[in-house]
C-alpha cells in the first residue's frame, strides 16, 4: 500500500505542481481586474462577460471549429489509408517499419520550420507559382495559395497527419488476421471487410488520433498567424494577442473557456468510443 503511494508520488507531484497548480492560478486570475499596466486582484466577472458577450469570440470559435472539423476530416481520411496500406498491404515487417519511419522524417525538423517552409513554396513569387507560370498552366500567380485559409489547412494537415497515422496504425497491427480471413470465408467483399471489421476495431486508434488533432488545432495560434498572414483568427491567437497586451485576466478567462470547450469535445469523443476496451 505504502510502496504504491511512493511509486505514484513523483508523477503526482509533477502533475500537481506543473499542471494542476498553474490551472488553478489560471482560474483565479481569470476573475481579476486589470488596467493597461497591471493586474488588480479581485473578483470581477467582466472578463467572462467580455469573452462570452462579444460577437468576435463567437465568430472566432466558429472559425477555429471550422478549421478543426476540416483538418480532422482530412487527417482522418489520409491517416486511415496510410495506416491501412502500412498494416495490410505491405507484407514484410521490415518494410512496414521502414515505411513507418519514413512517415516520421518530416518530424526531424521543428514544427515551426516545417510550417514556415510553406511560405517560399506557396508565395506569389514562390516555387509553385513560378513553376505553374513557366509551364504555361496559369497566366497570373494563384493568390489563394498563401496567406489564406487554404494555406492554414494545408499546414495543419502536413503537421498533424502523423498524429492520426500512429495510433490507427497501432490498432490495425493488433487486429487478429484470422478475423479478416473469417470475413473472407463468409463471403465479405473488401469494402465490407473494411466497414464491418477493420473500422470498428480501429475505433480506439481513430479516437486517440482525433483527440490529438482536435486539441492541437483548437489550441494553435502560430500556424494560423503565419500562414494566414494575420488575416484569420483563432482562439489561441486571440489569447496570445491579449497576453502581449498585458491583458492577462482576459487571456485567462479565454483560456478557461477554451479548456472547457476542448474537454467537452474530448468527453464527446470518449463517449462514442471506449478507448480502453482494446488497448
Amino acid at each position: 500500500m505504502k510502496a504504491s503511494y511512493l511509486q505514484a508520488a513523483p508523477l503526482a507531484l509533477i502533475l500537481g505542481v506543473f499542471l494542476l497548480l498553474p490551472m488553478l492560478v489560471l482560474l483565479v486570475v481569470s476573475f481579476f481586474d486589470y488596467d493597461s499596466v497591471q493586474i488588480i486582484p479581485g473578483f470581477v466577472l467582466t472578463n467572462y462577460q467580455e469573452v462570452l458577450g462579444s460577437a468576435v469570440t463567437w465568430r472566432t470559435y466558429l472559425n477555429t471549429l471550422r478549421f478543426t472539423v476540416i483538418v480532422w476530416a482530412i487527417t482522418l481520411a489520409v491517416g486511415f489509408w496510410v495506416s491501412f496500406y502500412l498494416a495490410f498491404v505491405v507484407r514484410s515487417q521490415v518494410t512496414q517499419l521502414v515505411l513507418f519511419l519514413v512517415c516520421t522524417i518530416p518530424f526531424l525538423t521543428s514544427n515551426i520550420i516545417r510550417m514556415i517552409s510553406w511560405v517560399p513554396f506557396l508565395g506569389r513569387e514562390g516555387l509553385l507559382n513560378t513553376a505553374l507560370l513557366r509551364l504555361g498552366l496559369i497566366r497570373a500567380p494563384l493568390e489563394f495559395l498563401l496567406f489564406s485559409d487554404f494555406a492554414v489547412v494545408l499546414a495543419y494537415v502536413h503537421l498533424y497527419t502523423l498524429f492520426m497515422v500512429t495510433p490507427i496504425f497501432n490498432t490495425m497491427m493488433r487486429i487478429d488476421r484470422r478475423l479478416i480471413e473469417a470475413a473472407i470465408d463468409n463471403g465479405a467483399r473488401s469494402w465490407q471487410i473494411i466497414a464491418h471489421v477493420v473500422v470498428p476495431l480501429c475505433k480506439p486508434g481513430i479516437a486517440i488520433g482525433s483527440i490529438f488533432v482536435v486539441t492541437l488545432v483548437m489550441g494553435d495560434f502560430i500556424t494560423v498567424r503565419l500562414l494566414s498572414g494575420g488575416q484569420s483568427a483563432s482562439i489561441g491567437l486571440m489569447i496570445s494577442n491579449q497576453i502581449s497586451l498585458l491583458q492577462y485576466p482576459a487571456a485567462c478567462a479565454n483560456a478557461v473557456v477554451l479548456l472547457a470547450v476542448v474537454l467537452l469535445m474530448i468527453a464527446a469523443i470518449l463517449r462514442i468510443v471506449d478507448i480502453r476496451r482494446d488497448l
Partner: protein
C-alpha cells in the same frame, strides 16, 4: 572611426570630473568602487546593443547588463518587476503608463551636462520656435514631472525629467519602387485599388491604428480631434473602415515582427506597407529596391529614453547618471545615427561621424562614398540620398507620435474584431 581614441580620452577626463563632483571629496575611492558597479538595463531591441555595453566597460569602467525585450514586455517588466532593473530604456508613449505607477525616479536635469543641447522636441516640444507640437503622446508632454518626488506630468519643462531622450525616428510607409508602378505621395495610397491584395499594415494595435488614422485623414474620411487619443466613435469609425478594406481584399497580410515585414516586402508579396526604418535597410541589403517613402501628410514618430529605477541610490545612482551623460556625449549618438535613427544631442554625435556620414544621415546630402553601417556593412552606395532628406525635413514633418489612448482597452477590443473579421 578615426577620431575615436581622442574622443575616448576626452570622455575619460569628463567621466572622472563628473565622478569627483558626484561623491564630494573622495574621487579616488569612487574610482576604485565604480569598477564593481553593475547596472542592469532593459529595453527594446533597437537600442539595447552589445556594442554599447562593451564601450561602457571600456570608457566608464563599470558593467552594463542589457536585456532586450519587445515593447509590450518592456511595459510589463517596468511596472511589475521594478527591482529587477536599474536603468530602463523606455519609449515615451509607454512612460505615460509607467511613470504614474511610481517605479522610476525623476531625474535631476542639473546633473545632465548636455541637457541644454538636447533637441528641443523633448523639452519645449517644438523643433523650431515656430513649429507645432504634433498629435499623440508628444515626448514633451510626458518628459517632466512637477518635483523630485512627483509622479504627475508637468506641462512645461522643470528640473525633474522622467526620461532622458536617447533615440527617435520618423516612420512612414515602405514601398517597392520597382513594383508600385506610380508615384506614391499620400498615406491614402495604401488603400489604392491598384494595390489590392498587395498592401499590408502592422498588427500592433497601438501603432497600427495610428497608421490607419493617417490613411483615413488622408482620404478625407474623418478629421480627428487628436489621432493619438481617439474617442470611442472615432475608434468605431476607423475600425469599421479597416474591416471594410479587409473584406474587399486590400490587405495581403498583417505583420507583427520586424522580420515578417522584411520578408513580405523582399518576396514581393506586398508592395506598400507600414514599415520601420531598419526593415527598409534590411530589404535593401538583399539588393532589392525599397523606399522609405516620405508622404505629404507627414510622419508618425516615436522616441525612447533612459529612466532610472526608484530603488537606485548611492554609487549606483551616480553611475547611472554617469552612464546617461556618457550616452549623450557622442559615441552612442553617432552609432544610432549611422543606423538611421536620430540621437538626442546631435552636435556631440557629429564629432564621431565623418563629414560624409553627417551629410548623408543628417543633412540629406548625396553620399560622397559608400555609406556603411556601424558593423561595416555597405548600406548605401555613393551618390544616394537618404529617403525623406535631412533631419529638419523629416523630424519637421511629424504629424503624430506613438501614443497610448484613454480608450486603450476599448481600442484593443475593436482591433481584435478587425483581425477576426
Amino acid at each position: 572611426m578615426p577620431n575615436a581614441p581622442i574622443g575616448r580620452r576626452r570622455l575619460l577626463r569628463t567621466a572622472s570630473l563628473a565622478g569627483a563632483g558626484a561623491i564630494t571629496g573622495f574621487p579616488t575611492v569612487w574610482a576604485q568602487n565604480i569598477k564593481n558597479v553593475t547596472l542592469r538595463q532593459f529595453g527594446t531591441g533597437v537600442s539595447n546593443l552589445n556594442a554599447i555595453a562593451e564601450k561602457v566597460k571600456q570608457d566608464l569602467g563599470f558593467t552594463l547588463q542589457m536585456t532586450a525585450l519587445d515593447t509590450d514586455a518592456v511595459t510589463q517588466k517596468s511596472v511589475t518587476q521594478p527591482k529587477s532593473y536599474d536603468v530602463a530604456d523606455i519609449e515615451y508613449f509607454i512612460i505615460k503608463k509607467v511613470f504614474p505607477t511610481g517605479v522610476l525616479q525623476p531625474m535631476d536635469t542639473k546633473r545632465i551636462k548636455l541637457f541644454d543641447k538636447i533637441v528641443p522636441i523633448f523639452t519645449t516640444g517644438k523643433l523650431t520656435p515656430t513649429s507645432q507640437v504634433a498629435q499623440g503622446t508628444a515626448p514633451s508632454t510626458v518628459a517632466f514631472v512637477d518635483g523630485k518626488t512627483s509622479t504627475k506630468f508637468a506641462a512645461h519643462p522643470t528640473q525633474w525629467a522622467t526620461l532622458i531622450p536617447t533615440i527617435y525616428n520618423a516612420d512612414t510607409l515602405g514601398i517597392r519602387p520597382d513594383l508600385v508602378g506610380k508615384p506614391i505621395r499620400n498615406w491614402k495610397d495604401l488603400m489604392d485599388p491598384a494595390f489590392k491584395g498587395k498592401a499590408a499594415i502592422l498588427n500592433i494595435p497601438g501603432i497600427g491604428i495610428m497608421d490607419a488614422a493617417m490613411v483615413m485623414e488622408s482620404m478625407g474620411r474623418i478629421k480627428y480631434v487628436d489621432k493619438g487619443n481617439m474617442t470611442k466613435p472615432e475608434i468605431d469609425k476607423t475600425i469599421a473602415f479597416l474591416i471594410e478594406a479587409k473584406k474587399a481584399g486590400q490587405f495581403r497580410a498583417f505583420w507583427k515582427t520586424f522580420d515578417e515585414s522584411v520578408n513580405l516586402m523582399a518576396s514581393g508579396e506586398v508592395v506598400i506597407q507600414s514599415m520601420w526604418s531598419p526593415a527598409v535597410a534590411a530589404v535593401r541589403s538583399k539588393g532589392i529596391a525599397c523606399t522609405y517613402q516620405p508622404l505629404a501628410e507627414g510622419y508618425r514618430a516615436w522616441a525612447g529614453g533612459l529612466g532610472i529605477a526608484k530603488h537606485l541610490s548611492g554609487i549606483e545612482l551616480d553611475a547611472a547618471y554617469e552612464y546617461i551623460n556618457w550616452y549623450l556625449s557622442g559615441w552612442v549618438g553617432a552609432y544610432l545615427n549611422r543606423q538611421g535613427y536620430y540621437s538626442a544631442v546631435l552636435e556631440t554625435a557629429k564629432q564621431f561621424m565623418s563629414a560624409d556620414e553627417w551629410g548623408f544621415w543628417i543633412e540629406g546630402k548625396p553620399a560622397q562614398a559608400d555609406i556603411k553601417s556601424p558593423e561595416g556593412k555597405v548600406m548605401e552606395k555613393a551618390g544616394s540620398v537618404r529617403d525623406g532628406g535631412s533631419f529638419a525635413e523629416r523630424m519637421g514633418h511629424v504629424s503624430c507620435w506613438n501614443s497610448v489612448m484613454t480608450e486603450d482597452r476599448y481600442m484593443v477590443q475593436k482591433w481584435n474584431e478587425f483581425i477576426a473579421a
